[in-house]
Symmetry: C2
Subunit: 709 residues, 2 copies
């Protein structure tokens, strides 16, 4: 790609940035857009709908200041530790790329520029210069200047590792602190038990009672057996929907009620329909609750956190596939539909999902190959000769090489997070947070593999396969292929990166949906949903730019300022969104951090592999050998971090649990808490519903709040 094409991209996107910023500052002030841009504040009642007509149309940048201001403590209160972890990922990247950017722009870039491998830069005609002149490709074989790059790699690795260590420690401590400051919560006292063996003659409930009274007598409190309620749930959902419509006095569709007498008053009529539904639900509940219809799983609650942890950690049964324990999720976080899976089913589902992911990865090569065709205009002209005329127009060719490729890639990447979320949901996870964590992991690796590696290796599946099977050659092949794609990824950062954050700010899809909805039916003040943050969509995206920055750090330092700008944008915009848009849906207390840590380590090792290959290509034998200890040490460092911090992220230690238990002993609210605990894990579909008569109680009771709200 030529410098002019890059400048074109930067130009288009800078303009878009300014445009969107201005548009946003105006649009967010329009009362009817509050539901899209400020749903959180609207729900909290802190944002009054202003009627001042003039100020509403004047663009301002006050919102930037507002999203800059809040401290981490305030963020913690409003978005939980997960929000803090997400923001710390961005500040961590900012620190890394500030450091890398200074080295890259002020040391590596000049060194690269004054190399003489390629043609000397013609300062009169910048636009004609290839971006390769700014990359390490411009240094000759055995050039002593390469030692500068060598030093820079060691320096950056040391810096990132130090930062990773302190960050991991900080978040681990925050996690403990968060636990200490939390109120007693049902999931702290509860575990989920699966694969309860069937004992002849007695129900699941009796079996659970007998087992835990025998083996954990001193701490066992109560349990809730899980039922197969998928069918019932659909009836309940239907009833709720109907009730909502009735409540808002909307015309109910006539079809199901045509058979009832038409002479009723509308109220009397709805009342009767609801009674009918209620009756149906009650029958369904009785049927589902009947003995023999249970799933062989139960939520078991204990008198103390220590007791729950004891039962959680200890192997329970002589047959280790029975009485499997896992920590219970928060009650509103439970993913009810997938409890029926047995040990074997879960295991097979996992294997199937792995295969599905592999298949998706291979299918996804189609758009990647398409993108690669676009960056290579000559190949495109060769394949489609009739395009020659259009492609010969300078503007068209620059737009095509500079903008279109990443746009296509970007659009097809949009579908990946929902697919991965679906795959994770059928894998047998018991709660929404686990599903998101698992999906996040999948999306990270999918992005790295399908965007980075597939692009680098020009999208040939067979080529990729041969590389896996020949690991010795990997560094050299990477060192040949990765620098060749530098210009593509610089364009990718400028286009995808920048527009991504702006789309996030602008909430394009919800905005359009809300606009269309409003055009068809009048707005209803009470009926809007505060959306949850989709970590599995945004975390991999941010991490991928970190990976790009680290791998291209010494290859093409020109990428660094753009990446730095991306993280600045992301910092402002995500803070704004956490404050105004997203409400936390669950609280994993920072469980996303280890994933971020591992991805960073992977980025470092990938950089080392490329560096080793590059130094081998440049015939710097000594430097090549001196680089080998670096990935080894990085992996050992990672192993150390894993041993040092990971246990805190899997479960809370005895020390912390007993301390909290002791504090509770003097709490006068505990008896009430224990009373609620017994029923906290009731399946919402099995709770008594009462629509008829009073219209405003049951639906708003806390136990009925569906996880989507």
């Amino acid at each position: 790609m030529l410098l002019s094409a890059l400048l074109m991209s930067v130009g288009i996107n800078s303009c878009l940035c300014v445009l969107f910023f201005i548009l946003y500052s105006v649009l967010r002030k329009q009362p009817r857009n509050y539901e899209v841009f400020l749903p959180r504040r609207l729900a909290a009642g802190t944002s009054k709908r202003r009627r001042n007509k003039v100020a509403r149309y004047i663009p301002s940048i006050k919102w930037i200041w507002k999203s800059w201001r809040p401290s981490e403590k305030e963020l913690m209160e409003s978005s939980g530790l997960d929000g803090v972890v997400f923001m710390r990922m961005i500040t961590f990247s900012l620190k890394v790329f500030l450091f890398a950017g200074i080295i890259g722009v002020f040391v590596l870039l000049p060194v690269n520029c004054f190399g003489d491998q390629l043609t000397v830069i013609d300062y009169a005609d910048w636009s004609a210069n290839s971006l390769d002149l700014f990359s390490v490709a411009n240094l000759k074989i055995r050039s002593p200047w390469l030692w500068v790059h060598f030093g820079a790699i060691y320096l950056l690795t040391a810096f990132v590792c130090c930062l990773l260590y302190f960050e991991f420690r900080y978040i681990a401590l925050k996690r403990i602190e968060h636990f200490h400051s939390s109120k007693p919560q049902p999931h702290q006292f509860t575990i989920l038990v699966r694969n309860i063996p069937s004992s002849d003659g007695s129900s699941v409930s009796d079996t659970v009672d007998r087992f835990f009274e025998e083996n954990h007598l001193s701490t066992y409190l109560s349990h809730v057996v899980i039922h197969r309620t998928s069918k019932l749930r659909s009836v309940v959902d239907q009833a709720k929907k109907l009730y909502k419509q009735v409540k808002h006095k909307k015309p109910v569709k006539k079809t199901p009620m045509r058979f009832f007498s038409r002479k009723d008053t509308p109220e009397g009529h709805y009342e009767r329909v609801l009674q009918e539904l209620e009756q149906n639900i009650r029958l369904g509940q009785a049927e589902v609750s009947a003995p023999g219809k249970e799933v062989r799983a139960a939520f078991v609650s204990f008198k103390s956190r220590y007791g729950a942890a004891t039962a959680l950690h200890m192997p329970q049964s002589i047959n280790p596939t029975y009485w499997l324990t896992e920590p219970a999720p928060e009650p509103h976080d439970v993913h009810w539909p997938f409890f029926s899976a047995s040990f074997m089913q879960k295991w097979l589902a996992k294997i199937l999902v792995v295969f599905a992911c592999l298949l998706l990865t291979i299918l996804f090569l189609v758009p990647v190959v398409l993108v690669q065709g676009l960056t290579n205009l000559a190949a495109l002209e060769f394949m489609f000769p009739f395009l020659t005329f259009i492609l010969s127009m300078k503007v068209v060719s620059q737009i095509i090489t500079g903008y279109l490729p990443s746009l296509i890639l970007q659009t097809s990447l949009k579908v990946v997070p929902p697919i991965m979320e679906f795959l994770s949901s059928i894998q047998g996870h018991i709660c929404h947070s686990d599903i998101q964590k698992s999906a996040c992991n999948k999306v990270i690796w999918f992005t790295i593999w399908n965007v980075f590696f597939a692009t680098v290796f020009s999208g040939s599946a067979f080529y990729k396969l041969s590389v896996i099977l020949d690991p010795k050659e990997i560094p050299v092949k990477l060192a040949v292929a990765v620098p060749a794609q530098a210009s593509f990824f610089i364009a990718y950062v400028v286009t995808t990166g920048w527009t991504d954050t702006l789309t996030e700010l602008f909430r394009v899809v919800p905005f359009m949906v809300s606009y269309i909805k409003r055009s068809f039916e009048p707005s209803d003040d009470n009926e809007f949903v505060v959306p949850p943050m989709r970590y599995h969509r945004d975390t991999p995206r941010v991490l991928f730019f970190g990976l790009l920055g680290i791998t291209y750090f010494f290859l093409a330092p020109l990428i660094l300022p753009f990446i730095l700008l991306y993280f600045c944008l992301a910092y402002i915009i995500y803070r704004n969104q956490f404050m105004n848009v997203y409400a936390p849906k669950f609280d994993t207390a920072g469980l996303f951090w280890p994933m971020i840590h591992y991805t960073m380590i992977f980025s470092l090792v990938l950089m080392h592999a490329i560096a080793i290959g590059l130094f081998a290509l440049k015939k710097m034998e000594l430097a090549t050998y001196l680089l080998v200890p670096l990935p080894v040490c990085t992996l050992l460092f990672n192993e150390f971090c894993r041993k040092r911090f990971m246990p805190i992220f899997t479960s809370y230690p005895a020390e912390v649990l007993t301390k909290r238990d002791k504090e509770d002993r003097n709490d006068p609210k505990m008896p009430e808490f224990y009373n609620n605990l017994v029923s906290a894990y009731q399946d919402p579909a099995l709770l008594p519903l009462r629509f008829s008569g009073s219209r405003n109680d049951s639906l708003t009771s806390p136990l009925l709040s569906s996880p989507e709200v």
Copy 2:
């Protein structure tokens, strides 16, 4: 190798077998050999020293019958579950190779023989026929007979997997049963805690007390802090040795006592020396026990097994590298010297040991290359032309190709188990059984790698390295190289395998040592040691023959009868040794089984890889593709077994623990047991010693019994 050379080998070794059997039956009846051949029965007092001179010199085979007879229960009582597991490994192999042998000899061998790839067998001159005529190499490319091999591979895999499943289940149940029937033992109530953090001002003992009283109040009983006693231990050992000499009224070497008055009676003199030593030890003990000199580790005992398990499984500290818990070994199994290692030291030691093992593997290639030179006479003649005359003699060449190679390999393999045991001992394991387990694992992989792969790939280190780095080629390379070594491994089974078991029976080294000892000093009835079984030496050996049998099952079925014979010999001889020679030194309750299981799975997958390569070479595309699911399924089966059975081998489940605890509640002996528990884990070097005065007490007290006895 020619058939005649093989027959030569078989001849020599059959003669040796008969000779050794006869010799053994005579030698074991000689009273002065009882200490070598029947130490166990001698120690138990069940073998009286017969004086009947005539019967002593008549060979008999009664001992075979005697070692055949005992049931598994009797074996369990005399040698523990570990002995049973070892014997079950042999019976398992017998079953596998009986099945494989029937298929191999009656189906595969005829199919191979009547192939026509190589020259037709000249029935008149058997001795001139190459062994390759009996192998799969004799079948033509695309021969339909290869489908017989295909079926045989599937059949054997299914058979072995079924057997493995039932065996794993059987041993897991035995383990639980063994626990149920065991008396209350200190290690069931105790855990080892390492990396106790230093809190300023208080001793380790106080820190432990405070921590466990705070976090495990209801179950905590007591603790024993560990001290750094390596120096003290050497003094104690010296004293014990001296005391033993005195006790047996042997002349004590004069050197250390020359400075004392010479006019004493011998008794008075020794008494004084012992008093001196006692004084020294007491001073040393006081010094070591002083506060601030402790190792930051302690044995912590609990009131119940359930309590100990709770503390064992639960993460303890906010910093996961502190308060590390692991199950305590049996008191007499503790390996005292290596308690000083910290978390980091242990980790680094582990990494270092891995590197040491790698180095050893590379160094070991020297004898392997030498062996390979011998099987290849032409190469040898080329390298050392002066040998041509000797090598041209038929007998010499047959001995060299048939017998010498495996003898050299064998001898150099003898040094591996002790080296591996040493490496494992510095790795930071806390007990002798863990050290043996770890050493056993190392020896298994070392044997497979250095005997199997190094031989197969002709001992070139660089060649081997290139194979790892090119995994796609592995099956084909194996399929070329493995069948080529068939004759070597057949000879290996006949020579090494058979003589190995005979050496085991004959206890060559101890026998010679005892003989030499007796020639120099008159025998002393009370001074013999019942040796422990060295599982890390014998298990890998037996397993390796299993691996050979499985991999060569379809390549060269001629190996199977010899392997079957080997296992028959091993069955008789090891049973005999368990009854008469080895006393159990520790009780891991079957922890060696998982290793055996994994090695079998590895053998199967290796066979599949070779088969895939072979079918690819024979251009059987369909068969090649149809074989690919087999290793995948085998690995999935292994994963299932791991999930299903492994947890039982890592710790006992709550169900079992509470049941035993309940039984104990009514046991009148428990208060006494708790009293002993408090001091069970005292370091023997710190116990009060009293030599002077009474001569027959302290040394025989159970707490002083050193782990070697």
